[in-house]
Symmetry: C2
Subunit: 275 residues, 2 copies
Amino acid sequence: MDSSSQFDRDTAVNLRAPGVYDTDLSADWTIFGVVNGGYLLALLGRALGEALPHPHPFSVSAHYLAPSLPGPAVIRTETVRAGRTLSTGQASLFQYAEDGTETERIRVLATYGDLDALPDDVRTSAKPPAIPPYEHCFGPADAPTPLPGSAEITRLLDIKLDPATIGWAVGAPSGKGEVRGWFGLADGRDPDPLSLLLTVDALPPTAFDLGLSGWTPTVELTTHIRCRPAPGPLRVSITTRNLAGGFLEEDAEVWDSADRLVAQSRQLARAPRAS
Amino acid sequence: MDSSSQFDRDTAVNLRAPGVYDTDLSADWTIFGVVNGGYLLALLGRALGEALPHPHPFSVSAHYLAPSLPGPAVIRTETVRAGRTLSTGQASLFQYAEDGTETERIRVLATYGDLDALPDDVRTSAKPPAIPPYEHCFGPADAPTPLPGSAEITRLLDIKLDPATIGWAVGAPSGKGEVRGWFGLADGRDPDPLSLLLTVDALPPTAFDLGLSGWTPTVELTTHIRCRPAPGPLRVSITTRNLAGGFLEEDAEVWDSADRLVAQSRQLARAPRAS
């Protein structure tokens, strides 16, 4: 564990009792005061990695119940099944009201395994997204005025977006529902299976590229980690094909520097009202 | 409830105690003796629809723990959160060993809402799959010899596959990882949000089209129900883009007779060994 990275320090969990972990949600991972959903997922993923007999998240299904705020939290885990190659667990994150009442913020059902034990076969028809070189992409620091997605969390992330997908930042969204770009942690920490849980929910929402602004709260987010990522920058592509009835799906793909598809995710989110 | 349909009779659940339902897994929904995962999902979805304050599944995440067998089962539900427009619940299906021990077969986390209360806006870039007319497609009865996917369940389903995606049935898989076709219940029961949970896991696996035969056990399956389906036949498309490390994802889209994308799902499954 590289404790020199803020990601590792801020996802630390402390065993209080069997399967129960105390933690603290850092205000540095917030967007407009609310804790980022990908950071929460990594926190729950870390607790499950400690509680379960297998080390890596293979499939993590999260249902978001209420916004999480910076401050203390407790994660309760349950080992649902411990198998030979896969194990399944459940984890919930709770925070306290002023009167001491616990409120559940997010609940996760996850299956873990050992990515390093998988065979090397790759037979994929998926292609990495076409993204211009890093130095031709744009980050929050390049914007003439702060972007709508700007927030505390942007200081911790090294995100550079494909210029073709940031028209929304200058009032000209493409309408396609696509955002893609380079992703890294700003302090240079290399990706691992846990940090991929952050990566899938870190880009500005596709809703911006559809010409919608405002909050896009996640209802459900499932992530499949398919491979241990190679060191170096990641490429992330998120797309929305179906905005209907006030909800949209957002599909994310994460590719590593060795051109492997390392993570796939889909979330169901409430769409912002048309602006 | 149209009790003249076997689907409705076989997904009946009987309240035993608050949130606890007795049911019976019908042998008619099996494939090689194992109960179909989509039928199980519909059973759990029905129990949650009775337990939660909202009627329709919006997002259902299922982790499959062990194969289910025909016979008695008990479903235990928990209301995780009851909100104004959405509620979240959890459900587990248990079966009994000969010594009376309960074994959990599948656990589900789900968010429910009211599809009929959603606005009518549709802004989608997704297009229905190009499938030849029903009468130009092929079902199990058209095969010269029983198909590898044949099983009890095929008698209850009216599935006709696009000829372009059934080369595997005559030893010539396309290698693309695509299967698509028409879907209905054989007794003519129209689709509803619950039956869509069956539909997403009812076609022969994409692995067949990749030239692999054998069992493709589901690890995780998340389904989003996006719209109440119009009466009439459904079109289903399933695709696999990434087979790697012994696992594959299978994405399903379900379109109704009114050309609405009514369900989207993704599962992570173990790949069969190369044949």
